[in-house]
Amino acid sequence: MIFLKRQLPLAITFVMGVAFALQYYIPHPVSEAAITKVSDWMKIISGFALVLGIASVFHVHAVKIRRQAPGWGYSGVLFAAIVTTMAVGFWSGGESKADGSQTAFGWLYDYTMVPLQGTMFSILAFFIASAAYRAFRARSPEASVLLVSAVVVMMGRVPLGQTLLPGMQISIGQFLFKIPGAWDITQWLMNVLNSAVRRAILIGVSMGSVALSLKIILGKERSYLGGGKDQ
């Protein structure tokens, strides 16, 4: 039993991990077919997992409704929305378009999901402004460079800033000096400094992620199996 509970999952992880790490080095068509197939399997497995999620949702909101907790009416709205969407979806056969015209499911998606998504997303426009107002204070040298580079890039990104801070060329005697405008500085910041930092973060994060993956395959990291040190 101990074997089944602990060793078997570790063995499966090891075999899957090693097999699909090696798959990368094998150009043979069989190896590509294998990864395609198993990727499909993953989708099927996570499809089943959705049942877990829905059970959790029902549990949370059913409790609210049963106890008539504050705002339980909204839980009712949520259930109604789930049921309606599913009904419409199955009625339309899961297609958003049939015979060239929109189905009810397509309508529901286009006029509820899309605007809701877009609206939630667009709230970022307000939040980015309020975050900038709160955070961009020259409290320390680090905060100051952050603030200055943000302001310069904001100038360089829009036509107005580019017009206000254009690049210039001054010649003194035989020397030609180029004074960069906001746009040039933006380009340089993004191309050079930003690339450097991203690259360093990328390398660091990748080392960490390869290390964790290796530990998982070798059975040194098993928290994903649910804590359980000695079960």
Partner: protein, 282 residues
């Protein structure tokens, strides 16, 4: 007098966020209703995409992948429209697809509309393959056999034998590819599983957020060009000489950026006004 100023600064620094929200809303809405038209400057990474397409011979194969959904529509749709207009004007054969199932309807709408305005025919000049599951696995299978990956297009017409796909067997036969990406399943994936293996030239169009992260790929030549956000779209519209929604939106952009910059400057002024005070007290 000084005390009054301090008081003002203290109040302004803790200003209700909702006033900022209102300012942003006005700065967006007013230019949209009444645009003022500022000039657009073209960056080399957008120019590169334009020039590559410009240099392609007629009937070359151009693959455009809509790797986004309606939530990124405001930024990526203008890019898609501008690219498609350019490609159709150059009489390229255009293959459109998407990795995001939620982007299917949007992609179909955009292609159909641009094709209609340029008088192109579905199946002959362009094809919309629709969505298929798999992410990177889909790219691999397109690299092996396009017709297996997409046996039929979005309107359920068999892909095999379509005039637009003549001579196209798999990704190797694609001349140029642009992925318009809003996140994970996008440019990097196309590069790692597609371009690298099947050797086609590619570029990216990205939302403003992920565009900075793609500069390393641009620098290393993994992609040959990059269209970033609405600004990128406006630049492309300028290049093809058809100003559209991106150029109009850029005025609103200028206004909101200006508002934020002024806010940041003000908040620092208030901050320093208060800091001097604290410095004395300590």
């Amino acid at each position: 007098m000084k005390g009054l100023l301090k008081d003002l600064a203290r109040r302004m620094i803790a200003i209700d966020r909702r006033i900022i929200f209102l300012l942003i809303a006005c700065a967006t809405l007013l230019p949209l209703l009444n645009p003022f038209g500022l000039p657009i400057k073209v960056s080399p990474e957008v120019q590169a995409v334009y020039e590559y397409i410009e240099a392609m011979p007629e009937r070359s194969v151009f693959l455009l992948s809509f790797d986004f959904d309606p939530s990124s529509k405001p930024e990526l749709e203008p890019q898609a429209v501008a690219l498609l207009r350019h490609a159709f004007r150059k009489n390229l054969r255009v293959i459109v697809m998407t990795h995001w199932i939620t982007g299917t309807g949007l992609a179909d709408g955009v292609v159909t509309q641009v094709a209609a305005e340029t008088g192109k025919t579905r199946g002959k000049d362009y094809v919309f393959l629709g969505w298929a599951p798999g992410g990177y696995a889909l790219i691999i299978s397109m690299g092996q056999d396009l017709y297996k990956a997409f046996p039929s297009d979005y309107s359920k017409t068999p892909t095999l034998g379509m005039p637009v796909l003549e001579g196209v067997r798999n990704l190797r036969d694609v001349n140029y590819m642009v992925s318009l990406a809003a996140g994970g399943a996008g440019i990097e994936m196309w590069y790692v599983f597609g371009k690298d293996k099947y050797r086609f030239e590619m570029a990216g169009g990205a939302t403003g957020v992920i565009a900075p992260g793609l500069y390393p790929f641009l620098r290393s030549g993994q992609i040959n060009g990059l269209i970033g956000g609405l600004q990128g779209a406006a630049e492309y519209e300028t290049l093809i000489g058809r100003k559209g929604m991106a150029v109009a939106g850029m005025d609103a952009q200028s206004a909101t950026h200006f508002v934020i910059i002024v806010l940041v400057v003000l908040c620092n002024v208030f901050y320093f006004a208060l800091r001097g005070d604290k410095g004395k007290r300590v």
